[in-house]
């Protein structure tokens, strides 16, 4: 029977590697812009590790894990990877985090004027991100849907919203 500690250690190593690779890769990508979208860049890094897990299982299997152990590792790693992606996303675009940081740094206009963040700036930034993520395309200054992946995710979240009885 495989010891729990080995499985936990394996997942920890994967998550620390993800974090370190992202820090190094983010700085390189910022300079050379290999991948245009920061979010797609994390997905790229995360999937490199996904491939490494499969590679390690087939060719090395250092801890002599069973297939079910790898399935477990794969699920847990990808869940925490998704959490990290969301955390990064929050640090980039969450308005509540932006407000808290501005208030903490006591920036001028932060809390006395709640409208200090420009509406159009917020929306334009999101439009750019959706273009980078290839969810939108722009033709003659009009925005068109180019993929429905995020739209389908949005619809799933709306179903979940109904389940929770949220109406606002």
């Amino acid at each position: 029977m495989v010891k729990d500690e080995f499985v936990i250690f394996y997942i920890l190593v994967l998550l620390i590697t993800l974090f370190i690779l992202h820090i190094i890769g983010f700085r390189i990508n910022k300079k050379y812009r290999i991948i245009n979208s920061d979010l797609l860049f994390i997905v790229f890094i995360g999937n490199i590790l996904n491939i490494l897990i499969v590679f390690e299982f087939i060719f090395i299997n250092f801890y002599e894990f069973f297939l079910i152990n790898y399935i477990y590792i794969y699920i847990v790693y990808n869940l925490f990877f998704y959490c990290y992606l969301q955390f990064f996303n929050m640090s980039d675009t969450a308005r509540r985090i932006k407000i808290l940081i501005d208030m903490y740094q006591k920036k001028e206009n932060s809390f006395y004027k709640p409208h200090y963040i420009n509406n159009s700036e917020i929306i334009r930034y999101r439009l750019t991100r959706l273009l980078d993520l290839k969810q939108l395309k722009i033709i003659e200054s009009k925005y068109y849907l180019s993929s429905k992946i995020l739209l389908h995710i949005c619809l799933c979240l709306l179903i979940l919203r109904r389940l929770l009885g949220i109406k606002n």
């Binding site: 729990d4 959490c83 955390f87 980039d92 940081i101 709640p114 068109y144």
Partner: protein
């Protein structure tokens, strides 16, 4: 396999509790109700282990409780981090649904669908409801708010990125 199923079961308890809380109490904030769901589900896990050890100790099912709890924590964290997008239709998703229903639009036309109160005031109100302001005023953030701000400032510094645009 049982480890994975037990982990999912633990999460379903958390999810079921959050459904009850949101349907019956309709909370305004997010942090406190999620925290309550988390605490109740941990109590369930604790009771589950007591019942299993005292009454079903002779049942020969091989699974790891530690790994189940780790899986439960992973799913729950993923759910909690997705929750803001569930609770309020985030601007990116709203943009996609607007274009999907209204057809191709110019950026100025899309911006018209968003009001300042929707984008900023509602978020300030939510921060207040979650108790992140000191003494319930809008003038100062509380200890938890400061901790959250510091975590994100340090994270962006480690990444070598400027503070997010919000």
């Amino acid at each position: 396999m049982v480890t994975i199923l037990v982990g999912i079961l633990f999460y379903l308890v958390f999810f079921f509790i959050s459904i009850i809380i949101w349907n019956f109490y309709k909370p305004k904030g997010e942090i406190k109700p999620l925290l309550i769901s988390l605490i109740i589900s941990f109590i369930f896990i604790y009771l589950f282990n007591i019942i299993k050890n005292y009454y079903f100790y002779n049942v020969n099912i091989i699974y790891s409780n530690t790994l189940s709890i780790i899986l439960y924590m992973a799913i729950t964290t993923a759910y909690i981090l997705t929750f803001p997008a569930i609770n309020i239709l985030i601007p990116s998703f709203k943009i996609l649904t607007i274009i999907n229903t209204k057809g191709p639009l110019k950026s100025e036309e899309i911006i018209e669908y968003f009001s300042a109160s929707e984008l900023i005031d509602s978020r300030i109100e939510m921060l207040k409801n979650d108790g992140l302001f000191d003494n319930n005023s809008y003038n100062n953030i509380g200890v938890l708010g400061k901790i959250i701000a510091i975590i994100f400032i340090i994270y962006r510094k480690i990444l070598g990125a400027s503070i997010g645009k919000g």
